[in-house]
């Protein structure tokens, strides 16, 4: 039943967004010149590659974020039934959290949370 809504939603999205792009392509006045192809239309031109190597800190942050992101997935269903199940659910989540908090403390100790 929600399939119909979904496909309607999808079609509306495609029509609206695609329509806007195609329409503006025809309706807008066009002017072609060299400056248009610059990445920025102001400031000094870039020299060499604009790619740069990222700090390893980004990666560490991302992986720690991801671990706790996965954790959230498991905590959501737990939170819904916590009241019904009572003590046993509480113990189960305490064990779960204990192990993961150790991981967070480890990351803290290793200065993975500090930006260098």
């Amino acid at each position: 039943m929600s399939g119909e809504f979904l496909i309607l939603f999808f079609i509306v999205a495609v029509v609206l967004v695609g329509g806007a792009i195609i329409f503006s392509n025809y309706a807008a006045p066009t002017s072609e010149n060299a400056v248009k192809h610059d990445p920025y239309e102001c400031g000094i031109p870039t020299k060499g590659l604009t790619w740069l190597q990222f700090n390893v800190g980004y990666y560490l942050f991302a992986i720690i974020f991801l671990v706790f992101d996965v954790e959230i997935v498991f905590v959501f269903p737990w939170a819904v039934v916590m009241k019904d199940l009572g003590m046993s659910a509480f113990i189960e989540i305490v064990i779960f959290f204990f192990v993961l908090v150790l991981g967070l403390m480890y990351a803290w100790k290793k200065k993975a949370l500090v930006w260098e």
Partner: protein, 172 residues
């Protein structure tokens, strides 16, 4: 067989997954591969929505599209040759890998189509958070509390492993 909206949706998402998967492995720029992968994952979330499994779809979007792709992009940006294009694959290699994958696909598809699957007798369930929560924390049959706890150890080990590999020595 009557073609319903669901069939149409499935076809749409399946086509998206297929096309973008092929693009992911054939593109010669690594960052584009990551972007195509993102689209594959989003289309998979669409499949879950179609199955009325909203929780799984949400997980798919937040974890895979939101978390893992970001991690992949960060890892790509860590490398020093981001703008490098991969060498085009020789025709011999691409010919044989195409042959192998098409042969494999034909084998799997024909075998699956040949098999007479038994339809389940159980009534369709409304999958809400309560049901997921109850079976996640249940210790009986079809309860998943043991995997739930073991996953915490797995996450811990994965995090420690990632930090050990990535962290620089403190002194320098």
């Amino acid at each position: 067989m009557e073609i319903t909206v669901n069939h149409l949706m499935f076809g749409l998402f399946a086509a998206m997954i297929l096309v973008f998967s092929v693009l992911t492995v054939t593109t010669r720029r690594i960052l584009r591969a990551a972007t195509f992968l993102l689209l594959v994952l989003v289309a998979t979330a669409g499949l879950y929505f179609m199955l009325n499994y909203q929780f799984m779809a949400g997980v798919q979007l937040t974890l895979y599209a939101g978390g893992i792709v970001v991690l992949i992009i960060f890892s790509i940006l860590l490398t020093s040759h981001i703008s490098q294009k991969f060498e085009p694959v020789g025709w011999k290699k691409s010919y044989f890998s195409a042959l192998a994958s098409i042969a494999g696909a034909i084998l799997c598809i024909t075998t699956i189509l040949q098999h007479k699957f038994q339809a389940t007798t159980e009534a369709a369930k409304e999958i809400d958070m309560k049901l997921i929560g109850n079976s996640l924390l249940s210790t009986d049959r079809d309860g998943y509390v043991l995997p739930f706890e073991v996953i915490s150890v797995l996450l811990l080990a994965a995090m420690i492993g990632a930090i050990v590999v990535a962290k620089r020595k403190k002194k320098d």
